[in-house]
């Protein structure tokens, strides 16, 4: 039991560490940002989770097209849903952060717009799934759309905002990661936070997949 579920315990511990450490440990004093820099541990990892869950979703979509196994479609759907959840959370936490640093919840920043479009693409995925009557066709076509969506999503999130001036740190050519303000004290919490949130994202998706599996078994009884 412990062998199989160690990563869930790890996720819980990392998230607790993020919350407690993120709120108590010392952070660098920066102008404007002040204490809101702590949001780094919550806002930024959300996008890591969305990229990874959306990628996993696209991976299972490809596997579905190869093997025609309905469970891969369920996996693809639930990972996409988890991606949407974390995308929305990332956007909300980003908006809160923007309110206290940039002055408004929504300032039409290129990254804000791009992420809103990205979330729209994935909402389109859910709408598309609702428009089918034939199950097999639904699985196949939504897998196709999912792969296309991921192929558009990656340049939308990573390349497009870098080309235009943004309020986000590290824009204008250099990635936001090695930006001046991510010093070693922040890294101490930031990296565990990223891993912890990713594990939580996978956990959410996995719970939903198991739920669907259980429903299928009950239906077949």
């Amino acid at each position: 039991m412990l062998k199989k579920h160690w990563w869930k315990a790890l996720a819980v511990m990392l998230i607790f560490y993020t919350i407690i450490g993120g709120l108590i440990l010392e952070v660098p004093r920066l102008a404007i940002l002040n204490e809101t820099i702590r949001n780094l541990y919550f806002h930024v990892p959300m996008w890591f989770v969305m990229v990874i869950t959306a990628g996993t979703s696209a991976f299972y979509a490809i596997r579905y097209l190869n093997k025609q196994n309905p469970i891969d479609d369920t996996r693809s759907l639930e990972f996409a849903k988890a991606g949407i959840l974390f995308g929305v959370l990332g956007m909300l936490s980003g908006m809160l952060w923007a309110q206290f640093t940039w002055g408004t919840f929504w300032s039409g920043d290129p990254k804000q717009n791009a992420s809103a479009v990205a979330i729209m693409i994935y909402f389109g995925y859910l709408i598309l799934r609702g428009a089918f009557t034939d199950e097999l066709q639904k699985f196949r076509v939504s897998a196709v759309y999912n792969i296309l969506a991921y192929a558009v999503y990656i340049p939308l999130i990573f390349i497009l905002p870098r080309l235009s001036d943004s309020l986000h740190p590290g824009n204008g050519g250099n990635p936001g990661f090695n930006a001046y303000d991510l010093d070693s004290k922040l890294r101490l919490v930031f990296y565990p936070a990223v891993i912890g949130w990713i594990l939580v994202g996978v956990w959410v998706a996995q719970l939903r997949i198991r739920l669907t599996k259980a429903e299928i078994i009950i239906e077949n009884k």
Binding site: A143, Y145, A151
Partner: protein, 115 residues
């Protein structure tokens, strides 16, 4: 078709574009990107019961990056700015075009199979 539209418009309304070659390259790249992604999305939507509405819903976010980039390059071309300012955007449009065309080319057989 986009080139044709460009010709007609410049005939009727006059041509304010200062850097025509750049503009034409941009038009061609943007139009092929539109064609590729909208065909793919229309193909996806045609498999559903309510295809007309779904094409619009699914297509808009997919073409939005191309629209944004082309608008920027067109503006540069119209104002006759130095070409080096538009290379980044052109490269991105080209990259998105190639990604969408490649992905569509691979995925289309799966989409169109009757079962």
């Amino acid at each position: 078709m986009a080139i044709l539209a460009l010709l007609v418009y410049s005939l009727v309304l006059g041509n304010p574009v200062k850097d025509l070659p750049l503009f034409i390259v941009n038009v061609v790249l943007g139009a092929s990107g539109f064609a590729a992604s909208l065909s793919m999305v229309a193909g996806i939507a045609s498999k559903t019961n309510n295809s007309a509405a779904l094409t619009a819903i699914l297509g808009f976010p997919v073409v939005l990056p191309i629209i944004l980039m082309s608008v920027k390059v067109s503006k540069n071309a119209m104002d006759g700015l130095a070409r080096s300012t538009s290379y980044d955007e052109l490269l991105v449009i080209l990259a998105i075009d190639m990604i969408v065309i490649t992905v569509s080319y691979i995925l289309f057989p799966y989409l169109w199979r009757s079962n």
